[in-house]
């Protein structure tokens, strides 16, 4: 359960990060308020994930945190490929 939560937190952080990039904002415009929320998510997500990992297991926590982060990054990247392709904007 902790692993799933950490993965989810990383995933929304990567999502927020990609959503804040100018190339993505052109496709999926966001209001200033939404941008601020995304900015907060981008910072809070990994920190909360790290806290959860270390609270669960100090010795292995960092390994879980980095590993799940990489997995979440790849997953969101592939999801973005699908979404952008659906919009017909990806070459």
């Amino acid at each position: 359960m902790t692993a799933f939560c950490v993965f989810f937190l990383w995933a929304i952080s990567f999502w927020a990060h990609e959503s804040l990039q100018p190339r993505t904002l052109k496709l999926f415009p966001a209001s200033n308020q939404k941008k601020k929320a995304l900015f907060c998510l981008r910072i809070v997500g990994p920190l909360l994930g790290l806290f959860l990992c270390l609270a669960r297991d100090v010795a292995y926590g960092l390994l879980y945190w980095f590993g799940l982060g990489s997995m979440a990054g790849i997953s969101i990247s592939l999801l973005m490929v699908l979404l952008k392709r659906k919009r017909g904007t990806l070459h």
């Binding site: 990567f14 292995y60 390994l63 990489s70 990054g73 990247s77 973005m80 490929v81 392709r85």
Partner: protein, 497 residues
């Protein structure tokens, strides 16, 4: 100034990355498989029946294991016992054959010997990963030097990409133009798995660094002292003397294991070594992130307690952490899978780097013989290695169970297929038909990978109802590899039209 620096770093990254990458890709691929070395060995020995609940050996089984160990030692082998663990719930009596740890497998309940086929199993990948199957001196030295090359390539890669790293953190454009898609694949795996890549490369290099560093006088003195002690421990006078010295059966092991657990304050012990005079029981590698060699010694003659060896110093703990991080003998499946996926991603990183190197130089140097050779070797690394791994699995199921020298025959198939793939790749590249070469080898990979599960079913070597998870997982993974090869083939054919 900055651009000049980036240009220099780019040159360094390309050449060190490509020349080292040809072998490093194979090292990473086999290292990734070695994460599940025990599970692969179990797949390759279907005669061994696993009982998930039997992670404790009974006194009867331990007695049989001691007898088997003694018989092995009487044949002049330095045999030792590994106790059942949650990943490998059987007793193994192993010895080192110069490449792998192999030996008889016993049931942890009644101690009967499983009629297991002779195979290198997952140990083959482990041996290839850390020594390229060239022995602990030459092989390890090459791998360590390549590890340093990889650290250089990582450093220069970061220097090139540092500006775009943050905004392009998860950018992937697989449907983009060819160099763009490969570059994205290279960057996304490189950036997202950078912590793992640095950690695994650094720890892997540090473990064997002593092999390439000039010896310190203190180390030399200590090494010769240890060698003398080991020589004293080993039976003198060859096999005959060894047989005489190991005539006595060791005392019952169950009470000794219980005492060792108590003294080491652990609930798991995994390894039992037998010297001429001592029995050494080691803490399990799964017990902690720190891979220690903490142990308790007993007399081999009557089993009385001799001493406890626990290393707690800062330097020892650092070494244990470095070993623990690299060897990944964790007790959690999730972490093992994270290592596996990360290792796979790093393999993709290196393989895509090789392809990028060729794409960038094809226009200017495509007709040169060295380019053709490089292309053939890349094909052999990228596609030939998976083909030869599939060949190893095929050989495991197809070769007769009782065939003499079966282990060497299996590994011969692996290397023969790899050599064949290399020849084929270089030949098609020299004939200026590299695309056909890629297509043929990817077709072969798809057929061989998708054929493994079919072969596993047809060979009827095991039951599919009990204790079959190990078969399902490997068969499914291999089948997925075959499917992805088929998908790549479709794309390649579409582009060639």
């Amino acid at each position: 100034m900055r651009e000049t620096f980036r240009t220099h770093m780019g040159w360094l990254h390309s050449w060190v990355g490509f020349l080292g990458g040809l072998v490093l890709t194979a090292i990473f691929a086999t290292g990734t498989l070695a994460v599940f070395d025990k599970e692969i060995t179990q797949w390759m020995q279907p005669e061994v029946v696993l009982k998930a609940n039997s992670v404790t050996a009974t006194p009867v089984a331990l007695h049989h294991a001691a007898e088997t160990m003694q018989a092995e030692q009487q044949q002049g082998r330095f045999a030792f016992i590994t106790l059942p663990s949650w990943r490998d719930p059987v007793i193994r009596v192993l010895h080192y054959d110069g490449h792998e740890f192999i030996g008889p497998v016993l049931d942890p309940i009644d101690g009967h010997l499983f009629p297991a086929r002779q195979t290198a199993g997952g140990q083959f990948f482990f041996d290839f990963h850390f020594a390229l199957r060239s022995g602990p001196v030459l092989g390890c030295t090459i791998v360590t030097i390549l590890g340093i090359c990889l650290l250089v390539a990582i450093g220069s890669g970061i220097a090139i990409q540092i500006k775009a790293m943050w905004p392009d953190l998860i950018v992937f454009r697989p449907f983009g133009a060819r160099p763009r898609a490969w570059l994205d694949a290279h960057l996304i795996t490189g950036v997202l798995f950078l912590p793992f890549l640095i950690m695994i490369t650094y720890t892997g290099t540090a473990i064997r660094a002593r092999g390439i560093l000039p010896p310190h006088p203190l180390l030399v003195a200590r090494h010769s002292e240890q060698t003398a002690q080991k020589a004293d421990d080993r039976p003198k006078g060859g096999r005959k003397a060894a047989a005489q010295q190991t005539d006595l059966l060791p005392p019952p092991l169950a009470p000794l294991i219980a005492e060792a657990k108590e003294r080491l304050q652990t609930d798991k012990c995994e390894l039992i070594l037998f010297s001429k005079t001592e029995i050494r029981i080691f803490r399990s590698d799964e017990a902690s992130l720190f891979l220690s060699r903490d142990m308790v010694s007993f007399s081999r003659a009557d089993g009385h307690y001799l001493g406890t060896h626990i290393q707690n110093g800062a330097a020892a703990k650092t070494t244990q952490l470095i070993h623990g991080l690299h060897y990944a003998r964790f007790s959690t499946r999730l972490l093992l899978w994270l290592y596996f996926v990360s290792g796979f991603a790093c393999t993709v990183l290196m393989a895509s780097g090789l392809v990028l190197f060729l794409i960038k130089r094809r226009k200017n140097a495509g007709n040169r013989i060295m380019f053709r050779l490089a292309e053939g070797l890349t094909l052999a690394t990228f596609i030939g290695l998976p083909i030869s791994i599939m060949g190893l699995f095929w050989a495991n199921r197809l070769l007769p169970v009782n065939m003499p020298e079966r282990l060497s025959a299996e590994t011969d198939v692996f290397f023969a297929l790899w050599a064949l793939s290399c020849l084929h790749g270089v030949l098609f590249s020299i004939l200026k038909k590299p695309l056909i070469g890629w297509q043929l080898q990817i077709t072969a990979l798809a057929i061989m990978a998708m054929g493994v599960p079919a072969l596993d079913i047809c060979s009827q070597t095991h039951s599919w109802l009990h204790d079959a998870t190990r078969y399902y997982v490997l068969d499914i993974l291999v089948f997925l590899l075959g499917l992805s090869a088929l998908f790549s083939l479709t794309i390649l054919k579409r582009r060639s039209v």
